[in-house]
């Protein structure tokens, strides 16, 4: 029997049992669609996070006070060293030639009030450089103005939510707010962007870093954000930062420098593993579909006993019959996979319409794996029924009507 004839024969026998074939296609399609959608979700989340990091600014390094041991673990959130990072440290970093911008950050919370309305919010003390380092977007006005870091103007930038709650529909630029016991003039409002790197920039006030230090009565910085001159400058910048801080801290290496890339790589790895896990769970449904194919094929073999007996009487060797049934299983798997891919791609498209910011796309490897697993399970679970068919005794098979 030629391959083409075998394919046609298998196809007509699938068409002959519409309900049965339809159900098996459905099972396969659901399995493949599940893999496509779930891997698309995982991949979408991964790309979203990676994109967020990329938006943070390119070539970013983060200097944290405190040194964690080489045994690993997360960098310390709270300083464990008697020597703090100071604004002077940040100024010193600026002079290195691998460094383009330095933005010191100090963080605390204070009460912000305006004409009897008041809210306690996070206060970020920083400098003009932060605007470029973090790629902030303004909805009104500008960011903190450049100027002498030690003699700052009493100005502030408000988060979108804070502005709404303190000012409502009133004009805000040029108005004064009281933060703690000082007065600041509002020079800008951030565009609403929600959570970003664990900090809600909507519910926040930004003031000059030295004002913040005076407000909190502390000279230690929360961290220093450094932007390297180029991608190639990241590694030299990292070494230079450690050396400079070490020299300034009496020879003690008491800072941790994280590159944006290493953070990106970590998140990439974590979310990649997540995608893999979710896809694996979806692949179980493919295996379930395979078991269903086996079941239904076994029923088909017993229903088609007479036909198998006839084929044997007409001189079909066992291998031909085995091949016919395996071809049926493969056809079902591939057709089911094709339908599943279509449904999965459509679902991802709908998801992208609903959540435009998340790039839901099944990665190519997941699509390929889904099709291969579908074909593999189809064939694997098709073997048992096909062998049963091939081994049927023709006399017994023909004796049944």
């Amino acid at each position: 029997m030629t391959a083409e004839d075998g394919l046609r024969y298998a196809f007509t026998s699938l068409r002959g049992a519409r309900l049965r074939s339809g159900l098996m296609l459905l099972a396969m399609a659901i399995g493949v669609a599940a893999v496509v959608v779930l891997s698309g979700l995982g991949e979408g989340a991964r790309r979203y996070v990676v994109g967020e990091f990329a938006a943070l600014g390119s070539h970013l390094l983060i200097v944290l006070p405190g040194r964690n041991e080489t045994t690993g673990g997360a960098p310390p959130m709270v300083s464990e060293t008697p020597r703090d990072l100071t604004v002077d440290d940040a100024e010193a970093l600026k002079r290195n030639r691998s460094v383009r911008r330095v933005a010191p950050v100090s963080v605390g919370s204070a009460v912000v009030s305006h004409q009897g309305l008041q809210r306690e919010v996070a206060i970020m003390g920083t400098t003009h450089a932060m605007y470029q380092v973090r790629h902030f977007d303004m909805s009104q006005g500008g960011f903190l103005p450049p100027g002498d870091i030690f003699h700052p103007q009493p100005v502030c930038v408000l988060g979108a939510k804070l502005r709404r709650e303190l000012f409502g529909n009133e004009p805000v630029l040029g108005a004064y707010v009281r933060i703690g016991d000082r007065r600041f003039r509002v020079v800008g409002v951030l565009r609403e962007q929600g959570q970003s790197l664990g900090m809600n920039t909507d519910d926040l006030a930004i003031i000059p870093v030295t004002s913040a230090q005076a407000l909190f009565n502390s000279y230690s910085l929360f961290r220093i954000l450094v932007e390297a001159k180029s991608r190639d400058a990241i590694a030299p910048a990292q070494r230079a930062i450690v050396d400079i801080i070490k020299a300034r801290h009496e020879g003690e290496e008491d800072v941790t420098v994280i590159t944006q890339e290493s953070m990106l790589a970590t998140f990439d790895r974590i979310l990649g593993a997540l995608t893999l896990t979710v896809t694996g769970i979806a692949a179980i449904s493919l295996v379930v579909a395979g078991v269903l194919i086996m079941n239904v094929m076994l029923v088909a073999v017993s229903q088609r006993t007479a036909e198998i007996g006839l084929l044997k009487a007409l001189g079909a060797p066992a291998t031909t019959i085995l091949r016919l049934f395996l071809t049926e299983a493969a056809l079902l798997s591939l057709l089911g996979a094709a339908i599943g891919l279509g449904v999965g791609a459509a679902s991802n498209w709908v998801l992208r319409l609903i959540y435009p910011s998340l790039p839901f796309h099944a990665p190519d490897w997941a699509v390929a794996a889904a099709v291969l697993v579908a074909l593999g399970t189809g064939l694997l679970f098709g073997v048992l029924p096909a062998r049963r068919a091939a081994r049927l005794n023709p006399v017994a098979a023909l004796a049944r009507r």
Partner: protein, 226 residues
């Protein structure tokens, strides 16, 4: 054509041994017309299955066209069936989802013959058996007689030397039964060896050679022409 020597066939039925065939010696010449008659359970279908290589004897030797086929592997036997033996069954055994033409074509397909060589053969067969108008009908749309003619067309399209018919008229009314028997006898007239199993005496007595079986043994072997 066929030589059976000391054929034994024993079935194991619920732990009991049943002798379906006992010491069968038989030889059938090329172009013969043989009927095998006997009550149910006499072993006539078992004998036909062994002659048709669908079943293997427990003991004995079977020479088909001067070759010992008892020792052949399953696949080699399948090849002999495909090329040299045609079957006609009581229940037609047509594939219900295939048309008459496709059912007739099936042995050619299984033999791996390319489509352009198949088509003229199928058309010739359809015409010869008066099925040209029914080529694209499925079995359920055909009468019993037409179905059996399709089955005979399928059995003869590979031009076998031996045609085995198991109760070919058992499921037909008298008129179509006659048609089918006429057709089989015409084929025999053109040189094909015909073996018919039946318990219908009227059909059996038309054969030139008539075997009677009882309890797994041939009890009479008569020449029908005398």
């Amino acid at each position: 054509m066929i030589r059976l020597e000391g054929i034994e066939r024993v079935f194991d039925v619920g732990g009991q041994q049943v002798h379906a065939l006992h010491q069968i010696d038989l030889s059938v010449g090329r172009g013969d017309y043989v009927s095998i008659m006997g009550p149910s359970g006499s072993g006539k279908s078992t004998l036909l299955n062994i002659v048709g290589l669908l079943d293997r004897p427990n003991q004995g030797r079977y020479l088909f066209e001067e070759n010992d086929v008892t020792a052949l592997s399953d696949d080699q036997q399948a090849q002999v069936r495909r090329e040299r033996i045609g079957f006609v069954f009581q229940f037609f055994h047509l594939v219900p989802r295939l048309t008459a033409a496709e059912n007739i074509e099936l042995p050619l397909v299984l033999a791996g013959i390319p489509p352009e060589q198949r088509r003229p053969k199928v058309e010739a067969t359809l015409r010869a058996y008066g099925l040209a108008q029914r080529a694209h009908h499925r079995p359920e749309q055909l009468s019993g007689g037409q179905r059996q003619r399709v089955a005979i067309g399928r059995a003869t399209i590979m031009e076998p030397g031996l045609l085995l018919a198991d109760e070919p008229t058992g499921n037909l009314d008298r008129a179509s039964g006659h048609e089918v028997v006429d057709l089989l006898e015409q084929l025999n007239g053109r040189g094909i060896t015909l073996v018919v199993v039946t318990h219908d005496p009227e059909l059996g007595q038309r054969a030139r050679r008539q075997l009677h079986m009882v309890d797994g043994a041939i009890v009479s072997d008569r020449d029908g022409t005398t």
